[in-house]
Assembly symmetry: C2
Homo-oligomer: 332 residues x 2
DNA sequence: GAAAATCCGGAACACGTTTTCCTGGACGAA
DNA sequence: TTCGTCCAGGAAAACGTGTTCCGGATTTTC
């Protein structure tokens, strides 16, 4: 029993080595209290020598905060949640906050479980994000919550969302500035709010230039290709096609090329998402709308930090999108 | 000063309501100690009535564990880290463990920072993952660590890696079973270990049937398209092309179709990764190798739990891949 | 030289839980 | 009745830190 298990040194060990009390050591390391500089330095050296790392569990207990926030996502496999997550993590880590990840896999039971776990961990706040732009039921926890991408149905909650409307309108204005008037729109399922909004905004911006009706389908290249056939049969004079996603736009480009129509000379095409693997691999590369999701994640995190700090900002914050112009409208 | 700020109820509140001491309440709720069933029930009811949620910070302090593990990833935007992360999170959450996410963005400084933070949080263990299959420097922390995807250079560390060799060989055997003998290989940069290994294994499995040399390039559709031109010029009699990634394979298929060559009737094609957005959108859909990364994440997490529990399993664990057969080799 | 102001550092407590040890009572056996 | 055994539950310590308060020492002031 001579040698006990080695322990990571605590503040008491540091204090002992420096010849002071634990409380003095705490003050020295946190630059608080009234201490002689010499003492401070002595403690610092002792801490360094022992490789002291403060135990944040103790700190959390003492401070009443955990310096942790939870991220609840209904689908982290999706390409929307990921950048949001990364942006949030980035902003939080700057504030010495850790992010614990909870993927509910769209299961309400799992969500309840995770919420309970986060409450139990006394996280300082929670970010809730989803895959759709439809508003979602607010979560019921005694902890600050901010919603990202999928807003809360309660308008008094804090939500950060994408400006689908502005994004769609920006593609139309861009095309109009290039002299394209007759504009069509191909997008995903009509049941998706984002598809509806983008379609409505596109029609609104194109005004009388809009040809036919929005073509609703699915978020796939296959649908994009098929939609071209449908569209050209009905509206052979179309000058530009705005698409609800880059996948659709890529399908549109592929089909147009197969039909011998030049993009953008004959018909200009725009996408939505700036999903690089689609937008850049498309032939030609796509002019598209970047939702700046990573920035959205950062903003969300900072908003959450504000709420935690006691200065909440209620309501929906709509973040602007950015138009990325490439060959599919500009040519080479 | 009559009413204090509302607090979330602690175990003492539960104990008071049930008319017992805090320690008794703890025993009742944890099914430990010697208590009358009636007392247990009384405490449970009190806890429920108050909506009591145990504070895991206190528990962590008392138990010496934090029930938290860290995940260090050098690139979480990449499509390899994500599934690993999700698999790990899945396996860990089953064990009531939380996962804190640390994206180093390939910056050694950030990595150091995160490691320090995780040590400070006294996480029970750390998972380190990367974007490449090359071995990486081990991290230096007094905490159990398991490496996923990118193994540690120290063979005594615990690492879980993908069977690149077996995956490549499985595509060749599949093609041979379909009667294809003359097999070529198009892959990414020769500087990438995974490209080298997949190429070597392909050649080894194809034996004398291998035509020419492996074509090294980049992980892009563009390179896949270009490689077809190079290959057909040099080896017009090739019967199958195995590719180092689905992106390359998709490019290969596209170019072959443009040249009027049928896939798979004239030339069969295989990919690698089973990246659905590539493999399924390709025309035709790709036979490819699924690295089962989510399973890899789960296995990694379970291995870490073993290490934490005190039964480490040292060395490299090579996880098998799964061949997914689709029209690019089978036809319709 | 004495009183007052200032500075430094330590003791004690708080945070919320678990765990170890202990006590008082009930009960059975001799 | 007395002793021993067993059981239910309480008191206290432990985990590691931050903070508040307080006393002693040193310096300043008259």
């Amino acid at each position: 029993m001579a040698s006990r298990t080695i322990r990571t040194p605590g503040i008491k060990d540091v204090a002992a080595l420096a010849g002071v009390s634990a409380s003095t050591a705490s003050k020295a390391l946190n630059d608080t209290g009234q201490l002689r500089e010499a003492t401070r330095e002595r403690v610092r050296r002792a801490a360094e020598q022992l490789g002291f790392t403060p135990d944040s569990r103790g700190r959390a207990l003492a401070s009443g905060r955990s310096f942790t926030v939870g991220l609840i996502t209904t689908d982290s496999s999706g390409r929307f949640s990921i950048p949001i997550m990364l942006g949030a993590e980035d902003a939080l880590s700057a504030g010495e906050m850790a992010l614990v990840l909870c993927d509910t896999r769209d299961d309400p039971l799992r969500e309840q479980h995770y919420l309970k776990s986060l409450v139990s961990r006394r996280v300082d706040g929670i970010i809730v994000t989803g895959r759709r732009t439809e508003a979602r039921e607010p979560v019921d926890v005694p902890i600050p919550v901010v919603y990202a991408f999928s807003p809360s149905t309660d308008p008094d909650d804090t939500s950060v969302i994408v400006d689908d409307h502005g994004g769609a309108a920006s593609t139309v204005r861009h095309l109009q500035s290039l002299g394209r008037e007759r504009i069509a729109h191909v997008t995903g399922p009509e049941s998706h709010l984002s598809a509806q909004i983008r379609a409505a905004s596109t029609m609104g911006a194109a005004r009388s230039g809009f040809v036919g009706q929005p073509l609703y389908g699915e978020w796939s290249e296959r649908w994009g290709r098929h939609a071209v056939d449908v569209l050209l049969r009905a509206e052979p004079t179309v000058e530009a096609i705005t698409c609800g996603s880059d996948q659709i736009a890529r399908g549109v480009c592929d089909r147009l090329r197969e039909l011998g129509r030049s993009v953008p000379d004959d018909i200009a095409v725009t996408g939505f998402d700036n999903w690089s693997v689609m937008a850049l691999a498309s032939r030609p590369p796509l002019t598209t709308v970047d939702m700046e999701l990573e920035e959205l994640g950062r903003r969300t995190a900072n908003l959450l930090l504000d709420v935690i700090a006691g200065t909440p900002r209620r309501g929906q914050l709509v973040l602007p999108t950015r138009l990325i112009t490439r060959e599919s409208t500009l040519g080479t």
